[in-house]
Structures are given as structure tokens and as C-alpha cells.
Point group: C2
Chain length 305, copies 2
């Protein structure tokens, strides 16, 4: 996966942290590491050291393609959540080494079968996609900033990937279509085989040419820090897919289980600040919550098993 | 059921109607009529005649308790929906005969086993609840207006019912609790055995003391008129429950199927203006969409059956 490695400062109604390891690359990698081998690529500065690397190594994430930029400063984000935890209010963004990042990937990375292009500039995403000659399954995330400033490039990039992960509001914005189902079909027309519409506290929906699937979010009474939920979702989703071998992305049952593992990982991510909850997570807890999802979605009142 | 009988004028991006039969009583009764015998109570004016009654009689709804107020005018509502169909903008409301409505119910109505108190003033809802001595299952709907102007009365009324149907935003507003699950638990503490949180395009959630269930909305590409969706939902829900005999409200599997029938009826309701789609609906179409819900929610990719 290629994305941002960051330090985050977050304030929510449940507390605050001045400086935590964060960024899409970190949240995705930690989540995916429970399912498959993960290599992470992205730039860091002089303020990124062994302590931060250790968080990734604890979970077996390969960091050989993390690029240390001499004299640079790691990407920094400061945000605040109100009582309504759905919206992050950005208070400060310092791009640092991310300002002129150009991806350099080892052959081990370009040979990866499954690739995730986290939310970075779409030209960069397309460049990485081009480098990854071994990939047979590529997922992409994006955001309103790129829809507004680089729409044509984003559409072109979407045309070269298999899976698109975006918020439902972003899917509507990208297609200028208020109905989510119609909007997702327009994104499918750009090329991908599946669209994952992230819906925050309402869960997520999966739209393919033939089928529709929707999953509620896990019913948490306390959400401490939503930062990274989308990347944890993508990590659980693609991590599970990668573990299921060739052709998994064409199997609706596998995709639906991937949606569920994604939701499980996102739900744990938001239970505590930054990576705190996922760092102490176990595979048994993941499987337990997967079973709970079977229970809370079963119309007949008993899990499908 | 007791609620409003109305004439609605609606404009949406898909057209407009100047004067349609509407109101919570009408939408609820038509939906419930596919599952059980329905009696409707509420006031109408001189402008309400045989043509309007025929819409209810076509579906076998008993209208003996519809009260004709001499010289009065039927409740009138004019609203408009933007491209985002989630919010109704009210342009005109004329209470008419609803201004000083005092429910008078026949013994057939007070003996009903299942009662729905649609969104009317909570003092009136409690008065009806008191009259319905035969009821062993009572559902209630409400809205932000009563939370803001009659909160204490609403809380008291909720204490005397079994099921609460409210929008998720209203459940949060009533309890001053931003987290929906925590908010729903606070409403459970007021007395009901189950809370149905309506979530518009995201579906609905069912919260009881022991369990949680959530169901997406049916994936419609075209929503023409959302007016009455909530009442159609409640009609399908309570209609199914009423058809399942004593103790049905305590059976999680029955409640979940009721959620699904409610979602089916709401989805058909919004496909066309006012009552137009539900009037030409068949039981076969209802059962077909119920099966589709099993499909779109099945995590394992095949319906639970």
C-alpha cells in the first residue's frame, strides 16, 4: 500500500492526543496485517524514528519502502471532533515531506498482487498503479479535495483500478448525482468492478454491476476517535481479499465477508485514539465481532452461519 | 390507528401534485391493509368525500371512525423536496379540522389488539392510549415539534407504549445524546420494549434491551416522493406484527421480519407520488421485495432463507 504516514493531533469529546502515529498508510497496514503480509510505502521525515517503526513491526508490517527524507518533517494533521463525531474539523495541516513526494517502490512492492492506493493526489496514484506490474487487484480511496481540484485525473485513475472506496457524499459529488445507487453505477461505468460506499455511522454499501449489499456499522455506544476508520476499513477489506487467493474479487460471498471484516476493523479503530485499540487487538476479537455482524444483520433472527 | 388524514401538495425533482390524499393515517392504513384488518380514526372536513373514502375502501380499510366535521376543512400540507430528497421543506400547513380534534373511538376501535398512534400531539396520543383498553401492543410515532413544545408529555406518553418509531435525529434530540445506540437505550428506559430508529435512505435500526438489528433501505435509483415513507414503514411493521398473534412483539425473529416488511412498504411508497404506488401494489410484489432484502443483507452471499 502507498499512502501517508503522519503524526496526528486529535481532540474529541472523549479526550485529546497531542502527537500520535497516524496517516492512511499506518491505519491501513495495521488493519490488513491481521489477514495478510503487508508492505507499506510512503515518505517520513527526521522526526520519524524507531519508536514509530516499532508500531508497524509489532504487527509484522514490512517497512523497507518507507522513505526517509533527510532534513524533512513528517506529515502533520491536527483535527477536532464535536459531539457529532461524523465530521472532522481540520485545524492544521503541514505536508512536510509529503509536499514533493514521488513514489519509489522496490521490486517486492511492484510485484505485490494486491495494491491499495490510499487518499493521495490522483496523478501519484496513477503513477504507482503503473509501477505495480504484478498487481491483479487494486483498490483506491480519494476525497473531496481531489474531486474539486483534479477531477479529470481522478476519473482517469479510477479507470485503472478494480475497487473504489469512497464516502457516499464523495461518490455523489464526483458524479453530480444525488441518488447514491445511481451515482455508484456511474462510477462503475468509469471502469472498476466494485464500489464501496462508506457511510460512517450508517455502515457501508457494496455496489457491483449485478448485486447490491449493505452492512450497518457495528453498534458502538462510545466512539472516541473516528480518525483512520476508513483506512482501517480498507485494510480489513483488502487484507481479507488478499488472503483468499486469485479471483476472490469476483466472488460475491468473499466480497461480502471482506465488507464485514472491513467494518469490524473500522469499529475497533474508532474505540480509542489513533492506533491504540488496533495495536492491542487480537484475531480472536476480530472473529468474535465478525460473528456479531452475522447476528445483527440476520433478518430471520438467527445468524446465517 | 389514529392520525391525520390530509390533502398534500408536493413538489419534487420528479414532478408535482397539487392535491393528493395523504396524511399519516392514510399511508399507514394502506400499508397495513396488506397484512391485517385496519380501522382508521381521524377528522376530515367538508372537502373530503366519496372519492377519498374509496381509496381506503379499495384496500378494505374500515373508515367508520373517520369523523366528518361539518363546515370544516381537511388538514392540508404543502411541501417541496430538493435534489437531496431526505429533507421536506414545508411551505404551508393548514390544520383545519385537526386544530381542535378530540378523538372519539367506537368500541370496535377501543377493542383493537394492536394500536398505532401516529405523529399527533402527545396529550392526544395518551388520551387515545387510555381509551384503547383492548390493546396489548401499541406503537407510537412523534416528531421534533413535540420534542420542542411538549417534551414532558411525550416522555409520559412513550412510557405507556410498546414500540417507538422515530427518526434517528429525533431520538438524539429527545435524549440529548449524540450516540444513537446510547440514545435509543435512554428511550428504552422510558418504558417501551423496542425502539425503531428510522434512518431515511440508510434504512432503519431496531434496538431492544438484549439485541440490535439494522437493515439498509431498499436500493432505489429513483425516489419520486418520500412523503409518508415513515408511516408506510410503521404500517408494514405493525401490520405484520398484528398478523402474527399474541406475543409476536417479544419474538426477535418476528420483529426483524416486521422491520423488513416495513422497509418494503416504505420503498414502494416513495417510488411514486402520494399513495399512487401503494394503491396499485400487490402482495406478490411485497413478497418479492422481501426476498430481495434477504439477498441484499446476506453476509455469506446467499439468503438465509
Amino acid at each position: 500500500m502507498v499512502g501517508s504516514i503522519a503524526f496526528d493531533a486529535v481532540t474529541s469529546p472523549f479526550g485529546s492526543r497531542d502527537r500520535m502515529l497516524g496517516g492512511s498508510a499506518v491505519h491501513f497496514s495495521l488493519a490488513a496485517s491481521f489477514f495478510t503480509d503487508v508492505r507499506v510505502a510512503g515518505p517520513v521525515g527526521d522526526d520519524f524514528g524507531d519508536e514509530e517503526l516499532a508500531v508497524l513491526h509489532e504487527r509484522g508490517v514490512n517497512t523497507d519502502d518507507i522513505e526517509h527524507v533527510e532534513g524533512g518533517q513528517t506529515f502533520f494533521w491536527r483535527g477536532r471532533y464535536e459531539y457529532d463525531l461524523n465530521t472532522a474539523h481540520t485545524e492544521d495541516t503541514q505536508l512536510g515531506v509529503f509536499g514533493d513526494f514521488s513514489p519509489k517502490l522496490s521490486s517486492a512492492s511492484t510485484g505485490a498482487e494486491t495494491v491499495f492506493l490510499a487518499n493521495i493526489q490522483p496523478d501519484l496514484q496513477r503513477e504507482v498503479r503503473g509501477l505495480c506490474t504484478g498487481a491483479d487487484l487494486v483498490g483506491l480511496d480519494s476525497m473531496n479535495l481531489w474531486i474539486e481540484t483534479a477531477r479529470d485525473s481522478l476519473v482517469k485513475t479510477i479507470g485503472g483500478v478494480d475497487l473504489v472506496f469512497m464516502n457516499d457524499a464523495e461518490i455523489r459529488q464526483l458524479t453530480e448525482e444525488p441518488n447514491l445507487i445511481a451515482a455508484a453505477r456511474k462510477v462503475l461505468d468509469m471502469g472498476p468492478r466494485a464500489i464501496v460506499a462508506k457511510q460512517g455511522e450508517y455502515g457501508a454499501a457494496l455496489v457491483t454491476a449485478e448485486r447490491f449489499f449493505a452492512l450497518p456499522a457495528y453498534p458502538l455506544e462510545t466512539v472516541r476517535d473516528p480518525t483512520g476508520a476508513g483506512d482501517s476499513f480498507a485494510g480489513g477489506f483488502l487484507g481479507h481479499l488478499a488472503s483468499q487467493g486469485d479471483g476472490a474479487a469476483g466472488d460475491e460471498a468473499v466480497l461480502r465477508r471482506a465488507m464485514t471484516y472491513g467494518s469490524v476493523m473500522a469499529s475497533y479503530n474508532v474505540e480509542d485514539f489513533g492506533t491504540e485499540r488496533v495495536r492491542r487487538l487480537t484475531r480472536e476479537e476480530i472473529d468474535g465481532r465478525f460473528e456479531e455482524f452475522l447476528d445483527i444483520t440476520a433478518i430471520e433472527g438467527v445468524p446465517a452461519g
